[in-house]
Amino acid sequence: MISLFDLALSNLLSPVVLFFALGVAAALAKSELAIPEAVAKTLALYLMMSIGFKGGVEVSKSGLDQHLLLAILGGVALSAMLPVIGFSALRATSKLSVANAAAVAAHYGSISIVTFVAATQALQIVGLPYEGYLIAVAAAMETPAIMVALYLANRGGKTSERKDGLWREVALNSSVVMLLGSFAIGCISGEAGLKPVAPFLVDLFRGVLCLFLLDMGLIAGRGLRQGFRTLSVPVIAFAIYMPLISAGCAALLSLALGMSPGGTALFITLAASASYIAVPAAMRIALPEAQPSIYLTLSLAITFPFNLTIGIPLYLWLAEAIQ
């Protein structure tokens, strides 16, 4: 088995993580360095397209079986359960309002695809394969947490009226469509379809990820500079211990899902990751009284860096340990 220390070190010194660190440093130093929004959005779409397509090609080779269904069910259940834990923890330890606690909990029940992508890179470095169908699991885990969190927020009484259209918006957000669409195209066109697009979709992947994580670093750094002081210690602590709780739950559950070590590591990573694209936009409509400066800072500026640097090697090690 690979030592946790070696894993963590090789992860920390990979260009992908170093470019993230560069972004954080530049933002903290107030450099005007910025990736234009139009390009950052495209880089994100590219990452979905690439990871989705490759996942689909894998599935076209191995075929689908009941494992996919099992994993999706497991993922959905997990994603529905984690917000309950998160909400209770926040309400018990911090002074966050019901709306704020529910909104934060929704983020931690849902997932971050970029964290998932970074974890696939870490797997590639240590040479572990993973199940292509995890793309579909990831997509399935985006939404359930939002529903549960809204239920938690509205148990008290009046439910928001302006939710018409919200579910369509959430279910058809850019990332999900790009991810599942590319996955389906990969399934259909298979290895033969991948070959002519591989120089774009496969070979460039790592370099593009570096550029994208530079941007994530810039955003996380600006978030740290602005949002940090408004957060209390129990709330900040949540952004570190909650991923670990989620990882633990996912590890237990994964024992029943029969995945490879690589797949297990990714499943744990999904659970431990926190959304910062789909869920914030949904919260602005469904729970406008919750403050974005709280949930965005926690998810983007604390949990994402934590997972990228320490979490991913830990989850990888955990996945190997429990086999």
């Binding site: 955003i219 600006r222 694209i277 936009a281 602005r284 406008p288 974005p292 400066s293």
Partner: protein
């Protein structure tokens, strides 16, 4: 001016992007004949500051909507938009403008 002009109201709404479609739907419901959405780059308000480059997630940036309406419709339009905007991050202001004839507002 000796050109014949007609007085109208110019409503300017600065609102967080996730709520844009709901603001436009509210305007559509009032019989307003048109509007234009304009991008914003950065800003500061009571809730702190934001810049476009921070917000590939769309959740924390603002857009601006300009809507020129007849005075008879202005109050209805403002109320409808205000009902949406008051629960969200955003502001609303109204000013006087004049337009040429044959234009549709």
């Amino acid at each position: 001016m000796t050109l014949v002009t007609y007085p109208k109201k110019r409503i300017e709404i600065i609102v967080e992007a996730p709520a844009l479609s709901r603001v436009l739907k509210a305007l559509d419901g009032t019989g307003v004949l048109g509007y234009t959405v304009v991008p914003a780059l950065a800003g500061r308000g009571l809730g702190g500051q934001w810049t476009r480059d921070d917000s590939f997630n769309n959740a924390s940036h603002m857009v601006s909507v300009v809507c020129i309406v007849d005075e008879s419709l202005a109050e209805k339009a403002v109320s409808a938009v205000y009902a949406v905007v008051s629960a969200q991050i955003g502001i609303l202001s109204v000013s006087d403008v004049s337009v040429m004839r044959k234009e549709h507002f």
